[in-house]
């Protein structure tokens, strides 16, 4: 079976260097990029499925020109190839534009399942996958904790996390599945995987190669604009209690009472 995984290079959360440029857009060149954590779960889930069912995993990403460095890491996990959509006009894209570009990029590809991570660690919107499913007319199965394709019946079953447990969803393939951490820990690339990734193909496509009306995508078409940004107010100083447990507990409880929490 063929699985396409949408991957986003995001600023490394641990880097602390994220900043907005003069245009109030993320300065993506200023920070080291990593594969979005939820996308790694999607890649892992896809690789496990092809280990069972055979087939191939392909990656698709819309990202700035330096993305291939990050995509190589994802290829090193075991994906076969990547498509990188990049164009200066795409900077400042909103979620709708991002969905349109990714949907257009995926449209020409053959796949049984399209995977996306539940959200990204930069913007954290988590709405792009649902938009892509709507644009492509694909069944949409979100917040997956388990994915079970039936290649004979050409259907897929997903355990969708619910507030009280999970719902078992079923839809015909091809379908879009949104992946979560509950699918299992992503593998570390092996040395062999890293070597192999160097020669794997990453196809670069610009906006002109993507079948989508240029007037509806990119920064200029954005439906939203960041008007202002600031650092959150610093938290007050930490009060440290080193007394023995019983004394410490008294202080904690009276602190909670002062804060009117109890």
């Amino acid at each position: 079976m063929r699985i396409v995984v949408l991957v986003k290079p995001v600023p490394d959360t641990a880097s602390a260097g994220e900043r907005l440029g003069a245009d109030n857009r993320l300065d993506r060149a200023a920070v080291p990029a990593v594969v979005n954590a939820n996308d790694e779960y999607a890649i892992e889930a896809a690789l496990k499925l092809i280990e069972t069912h055979g087939g191939e995993v392909a990656l698709v990403s819309m990202a700035p020109p330096n993305a291939p460095e990050t995509l190589r890491k994802a290829l090193a996990m075991g994906a076969a190839s990547g498509t990188h959509v990049t164009d200066p006009a795409l900077a400042g894209s909103d979620t709708l534009s991002t969905a349109r570009v990714l949907a257009a990029a995926v449209k020409g590809m053959e796949f049984d399942l399209l995977f996306a991570g539940a959200d990204t660690s930069d913007g954290g919107a988590g709405v792009v996958p649902a938009s892509i499913a709507a644009l492509l007319g694909l069944p949409y199965l979100s917040y997956a904790a388990k994915i079970e394709p039936n290649t004979d019946a050409r259907t897929v079953r997903v355990h969708r996390i619910s507030p009280t447990g999970f719902d078992i969803l079923e839809a015909p393939m091809p379908a879009l599945v949104v992946c979560t951490q509950a699918l299992g820990e992503p593998r570390y690339p092996s040395l062999k995987g890293i070597m192999a990734a160097r020669s794997k193909e990453i196809v670069t496509r610009s906006l002109g190669d993507v079948d989508e009306d240029p007037a509806t995508i990119g920064g200029l078409a954005s439906t939203t604009v960041v008007a202002e940004s600031h650092k959150p107010p610093a938290r007050g100083a930490t009060r440290v209690i080193r007394e023995p447990a019983a004394d410490a507990a008294k202080q904690v409880v009276s602190f909670l009472a002062e804060q009117r929490i109890i």
């Binding site: 979620t95 913007g123 499913a133 069944p139 949409y140 078992i168 939203t224 938290r235």
Partner: protein
């Protein structure tokens, strides 16, 4: 009736989801500022109960029965029906909760209406004829205020941004049916499985008691649960605790888990790594118990008890019980 629409979600038992009551309260306040009409919309197999409950918060509610919602995934179906109504009634903005259902619906609505989405609002106000939406981005390192470039948009609002408050007079409920086939594929719900020990959604909890690696094992979560019960709160956990299989993923707080904003976050045996911090740093009060005074959490907790959590946590529990006597 231009103005603001609020999507009311029905919970499994047909009642109005708590988050929808919060969003409706926010919409009513915004509507007052904007001089706008506020309308609630409920799409469900049987929308009556949730619609009646939503009418306590807003002046007018459209109750849309949709039989397919009984045994199919809700968000896409409901989005199609709401988009059809929106084309007819032309609201300016649609507000909904930033929970999984709300996110799914916002993504579909955005495509169907060709409107932009501002997500995970932590605050919202009305300026220059439209909503100004505060969001916390890059794991809470930056707070941005965003606006729509046109006259329309969809906003999802995080839990606990406002306290649900009923209006002084109840609104009216109007049953509306939307005709026509559903164009987008529906996804069948084969079964709804309730897991033993399923807890209340942690995003909505006012108090969270959370355990990390320092808890040491599944048995260690007993004291976490007892403290949470005593404080009327929910149990949370770090990824380390979830990965070790000590507690369900649904309780995980942080980068690949949930983002929470409780009044009190009591962290037991949690070092406060960045991946966890991004999920809880906007809690109003953070109290931590940790053996290591140099753990990262020492930098952002309001109160840090340096000590063994298995001594300190039971002592806090005893003190709370003595107090409530």
């Amino acid at each position: 009736m231009p103005g603001l629409w609020v999507v009311g979600q029905a919970a499994a038992d047909g009642s109005l989801a708590h988050i929808s009551a919060e969003v409706a309260t926010i919409a009513r306040t915004l509507g007052g500022d904007a001089g706008d009409d506020v309308t609630g919309v409920v799409v469900a197999a049987d929308p009556k109960r949730a619609a009646d409950e939503l009418a306590a918060y807003v002046p007018r509610v459209l109750a849309v029965p949709e039989p397919a919602a009984a045994d199919h995934a809700w968000a896409t179906i409901a989005a199609e029906r709401i988009a059809a109504l929106a084309r007819q009634h032309e609201p300016d903005h649609i507000l909904l909760g930033a929970d999984p259902e709300g996110r799914d619906m916002a993504g579909v609505l955005s495509v169907l209406l060709e409107w932009g989405v501002l997500v995970n609002a932590t605050g919202i106000s009305w300026t220059e004829g439209g909503p100004s939406v505060q969001m916390s981005v890059f794991g809470g390192k930056l707070i941005t205020t965003s606006r729509f470039t046109g006259g329309h948009g969809i906003v999802t609002i995080r839990p606990n941004v406002a306290t649900a408050e009923e209006a002084s007079t109840a609104g009216t409920v109007e049953a509306v049916s939307v005709e026509g086939d559903l164009a987008l594929p529906t996804v069948r719900v084969v079964d709804r499985v309730t897991e033993a020990g399923a807890a209340a959604p942690i995003e909505e909890a006012r108090v969270i008691v959370a355990g990390g690696r320092g808890i040491g094992g599944p048995d260690g979560f007993k004291i976490v649960e007892e403290l949470a019960a005593e404080l009327g709160g929910a149990v949370g956990a770090t990824r380390a605790a979830v990965d070790s299989g000590w507690i369900n993923y649904s309780q995980q707080i942080g980068q690949t888990g949930k983002i929470v904003k409780p009044q009190l976050y009591l962290a037991l045996g949690i070092s406060g790594a960045i991946q966890h911090k991004v999920g809880m740093q906007t809690a109003e009060t953070i109290v931590a118990v940790n053996r290591d005074p140099d753990a990262p959490i020492a930098e952002f907790a309001d109160l840090l008890v340096v000590g063994d959590l298995f001594e300190v946590a039971p002592a806090i529990l005893a003190e709370l019980r003595a107090r409530s006597g």
